[in-house]
């Protein structure tokens, strides 16, 4: 099976029925994607497939063979954070940080589709991502901040 992970190509023999989450975590040590519920309800396992957020805990690895898979580890470029990562820092949009990679990737997916989302759009896009610490208002602020930064030409836009 061919996997394109954070722009690198891998050929690997895998049980095609394995869920992407556990392949990323246990075969590639990409542990930024987290287990939270195993039924696509919490968003902690979110990764981007061809730029769109998907729940890796319910995605069979065979279904994403050959597609562009982006994990949180693939966002930072040359030691420089993605504007969404930086905005999460600037807005203090995390407490325990367990939901953070999924939140960031879902936000990156949103901003790739809609460069200047309004608050209702942000809420809708992130509705499937749970932050049990309740940092929702800060996450909204972070996405808005990132949208501004990216419009102003921050790298990775």
């Amino acid at each position: 099976m061919e996997l394109v992970l954070n722009q690198k190509h891998y050929r690997i023999v895998l049980d095609p029925n394995r869920m992407l989450l556990w392949v990323l975590r246990d075969e590639f040590s990409l542990t930024g994607a987290k287990y939270g519920c195993g039924e696509g309800q919490c968003g902690a396992c979110t990764v981007l497939i061809d730029g769109a957020p998907v729940r890796s805990c319910i995605t069979r690895v065979s279904s994403v063979a050959g597609k562009q898979i982006t994990t949180i580890e693939g966002l930072e470029q040359n030691g420089r954070l993605h504007p969404v990562q930086q905005a999460f820092l600037d807005a203090d949009a995390l407490q325990c940080g367990y939901c953070t990679p999924g939140m960031i990737l879902a936000s990156v997916g949103l901003l790739q589709k809609t460069s200047q989302p309004g608050e209702p759009e942000i809420r809708r896009a992130l509705q499937g991502n749970v932050c049990r610490c309740g940092t929702y208002p800060r996450i909204i602020a972070a996405v808005q901040l990132a949208a501004q930064q990216m419009a102003a030409g921050a790298p990775h836009a």
């Binding site: 246990d26 287990y35 919490c42 990562q85 820092l89 203090d92 509705q127 049990r132 610490c133 309740g134």
Partner: protein, 718 residues
């Protein structure tokens, strides 16, 4: 019951033998340089452990509260047994030490919650870190500052009065000379015990009191931080436990269809009494191994369900009445008698329980997300019958806890499997396991009887809490005749600590009741509270919240309402105002009956005072998070159960607050630089439920006395 628990704890607790008896061990452990040791003072120990120091025996070496090491290269590391679970104490404690060292926060690194490296600590709970650990950190930091000044004065041969610290360096004001910490600690092997140290008071803070950014945030936004569930060890296997079908079931027999020899190398079934588990090299073979097991269990006789829960909790004799209160009730102008209930709710930490266990001969190392690393070490010592000195428990910064991770189930299970497999084992609880086999916030029943005078003074107040707990059970209002009693029950479900403990339930009942009394007295709820309240700190937050909210200024509109509530717990004073609307349900399908309308919380204002504010931005973050979490318990969270089974053990069945539930949240911080800092991660949660209930009452005239108040929407009852 309580006494037995404490005694058992005493028996297994052996703090610091390896350190306390020979202090040179510190240099072996930490390397050369300067080490400062701070002994626990008696009052702090008694407070922290909840028992008298006299029980501890005098023969033991002095226990240590904290130690700080300045390495030969000048790196400052401070050690604490506290756990970081998202409450941001890694940042606030670094601020405390850096403040004393007159240094930027980056100067200080914290090693936390590692029984092999850090001082003994009872656990991270009860909002104790800021009021008890931070002062100890500050003392050891201040002592380090003075020790560096001594070393520099000696080196420069000058009066120490001319030496001071700033910007992470030691400076001589007279000559302008300066030295890094490493210039003074290189080649040193010095251990000092701190007796007394003068710490910087809040009015002189320059780093504490500011919004220092979260110190390890970058590793969280990049995914670089390794939570327990992210750890890997050489040769590590994955483990899982076979769960009984219901609480109380006993294993009769079990058979495995895994072929012998196993078709997948390293796959193994392990049985020890009622414990059955499996290990395998990956999650998919592990699932196959567990599914291959056929087991028969004995069922326990009929167990309670939600329907009879409150009757079960209140079983037993009615508490005797208090004659003085009876008399006061008799002579009151208005009387009110009401019962309130709260459901079991789940913590739902987004990182479920997890552990990695590794044996090296008879020594055991376990990484696990727990609020009580030393407690888990005791549990392991007991379970495996080995000395605590042979066990090291390490807690990576953890994916939240909220009081739900005091225990070491996953640690124990991983250790048992690793012992049999003779390889490191990682075990991550599924969400369903976390919802079923962890523990819950206690359910409870609260009865209140009260009386007031015609002009609205409370004259009688009788409060009974069944099972939910005694936290914040006493009324903060001034009442001539009052009593409050907690009555423990046999809980049908395993229950334990939860953010704010029973303060949420007790405030919900009390503050809902207060609103009804205000209505009886025909007084505005704010006016009624102020009339019966002398406590200045509580009055201050109540007035601050009301002012920010614009209390009394909103127009009367149908299906909209405002409510307020206030309270005090763990040294924190909180007042919450909420505005709600009863709105039609989003979803009305053509073929289904219309869903009931929903309670939409539109705006919440929280005023909070916890003494001197250590980090304003992080405090706001905690208050917002408390409000958000409180919404779940107030409106819709409830553990459904019947006959020993949890009926909604998944996130698709157990609703937690999401983005759509987010109101406008505003906070007012009342900063009291003249008062010591109290903890702040819990108390802001207590005001939301009653404020929302009071707002629903104003909007609809309906008084909802059960938490959650609207699990399936707002249902009008007659």
């Amino acid at each position: 019951m309580l006494d037995i628990e404490l005694e058992r704890y005493e028996l297994f607790e052996q703090p610091f033998y390896q350190f306390g008896t020979d202090r040179r061990d510190f240099l072996k452990l930490l390397g050369g340089g300067l080490v400062l040791l701070l002994a626990v003072d008696g009052s702090a120990r008694a407070q922290e452990s909840g028992r008298a120091p006299a029980m501890r025996g005098d023969a033991r070496p002095p226990e240590l509260a904290a130690w700080l090491h300045i390495a030969e290269d000048g790196a400052v590391t401070v050690y604490t047994g506290k756990t970081e679970v998202g409450q941001n104490i890694r940042t606030s404690l670094a601020q405390a030490v850096a403040e004393e060292l007159r240094s930027p926060i980056e100067t200080v690194r914290l090693v936390m919650a590692d029984t092999g490296l850090t001082p003994y600590d009872m656990g991270t709970f009860g909002s104790r870190t800021t009021p008890t650990m931070a002062p100890q950190m500050k003392k050891v930091g201040a002592a380090a500052r003075e020790a560096l000044i001594d070393l520099a004065a000696e080196k420069w041969k000058v009066d120490r009065a001319s030496v001071s610290l700033s910007d992470g360096r030691v400076k001589n004001a007279a000559t302008g000379a300066s030295l890094g910490f490493g210039d003074l600690t290189r080649g040193l092997e010095l251990i000092k015990t701190v007796d007394a140290a003068t710490v910087t008071p809040p009015k002189d803070w320059t780093l504490e009191g500011t919004s220092a950014p979260k110190v390890n945030a970058r590793s969280l936004v990049t995914g670089a931080h390794r939570f327990t569930s992210d750890l890997d060890r050489p040769g590590m296997l994955h483990g899982r436990v076979l769960r009984p079908p219901a609480f109380g079931a006993k294993l009769v027999w079990v058979d495995s269809k895994v072929p012998e020899p196993p078709e997948i190398p390293d796959t193994m079934i392990i049985r020890d009494g009622d414990f059955v588990g499996a290990v395998a090299p990956d999650e998919i073979s592990l699932g196959k191994a567990i599914r291959s097991l056929q087991a028969r269990w004995t069922a326990k006789e009929q167990q309670p369900s939600n329907a009879d829960l409150f009757a079960v909790l209140k079983r037993g004799d009615a508490p005797p009445s208090n004659p003085e209160i009876e008399q006061a009730l008799q002579s009151a102008d208005h009387k009110l008698d009401a019962a309130y209930t709260v459901a079991y709710i789940a913590h739902v930490p987004l990182e479920p329980r997890a552990a990695v266990a590794e044996w090296n001969a008879d020594k055991l190392t376990v990484w696990t997300g727990t609020q009580r690393p030393f407690g888990v070490r005791s549990e392991l010592a007991e379970a495996f019958n080995i000395p605590e000195a042979s066990i090291r428990v390490i807690v990576p910064d953890t994916g939240s806890a909220y009081g739900g991770k005091h225990t070491g189930e996953a640690a124990m299970e991983a250790a048992r499997l690793a012992k049999a497999a003779n390889k490191p084992v990682k075990l991550i609880w599924s969400r369903e396991e976390e919802f079923t086999w962890a523990y819950f916030r206690p359910a409870g029943v609260i009865d209140i009887r009260s009386g007031i005078t015609r002009d609205g003074l409370i004259t009688a107040w009788e409060f009974h809490n069944y099972n939910s707990g005694p936290s914040a059970i006493e009324t903060p209002y001034d009442v001539a005749r009052h009593s409050a009693q907690f009555h423990p029950s046999d809980s049908p479900l395993r229950q334990g600590s939860y953010r704010g403990l029973a303060a949420t339930a007790n405030h919900f009942a009390r503050e809902s009741h207060m609103d009804d009394l205000a209505a009886l007295a025909a007084l505005d709820p704010l006016e009624f509270r102020l009339k019966n309240l002398k406590n200045d700190r509580l009055r201050a937050v109540l007035q601050a919240a009301a002012e920010k909210f614009g209390w009394g200024k909103s127009k009367n509109e149908p299906n909209r309402g405002s409510g307020l509530a206030c309270g005090v717990e763990k040294g924190g004073y909180v007042a919450t105002c909420a505005e709600i609307a009863i709105v039609p349900s989003d979803f009305v399908g053509p073929e289904v009956a219309p869903a009931p309308p929903q309670v939409k919380i539109e705006r919440v204002v929280t005023a909070f005072e916890c003494g001197a504010v250590v980090n304003p931005e992080h405090l706001k973050n905690q208050i917002e998070g408390s409000v958000m979490m409180a919404i779940g318990g107030a409106l819709f969270e409830s553990v459904e159960f019947a006959n020993g089974r949890i009926l909604n053990p998944r996130l698709s069945k157990y609703r937690v607050p999401r983005f759509s539930d987010l109101p406008v949240i505003e906070t007012v911080l009342v900063d009291r630089k003249d008062l010591p800092s109290a903890g702040a991660g819990e108390t802001p949660i207590v005001g939301l439920a009653p404020a929302v209930g009071n707002a629903i009452f104003q909007a609809t005239g309906m008084r909802l006395r059960s938490l959650p108040m609207a699990p399936r929407g707002f249902v009008k009852r007659s």
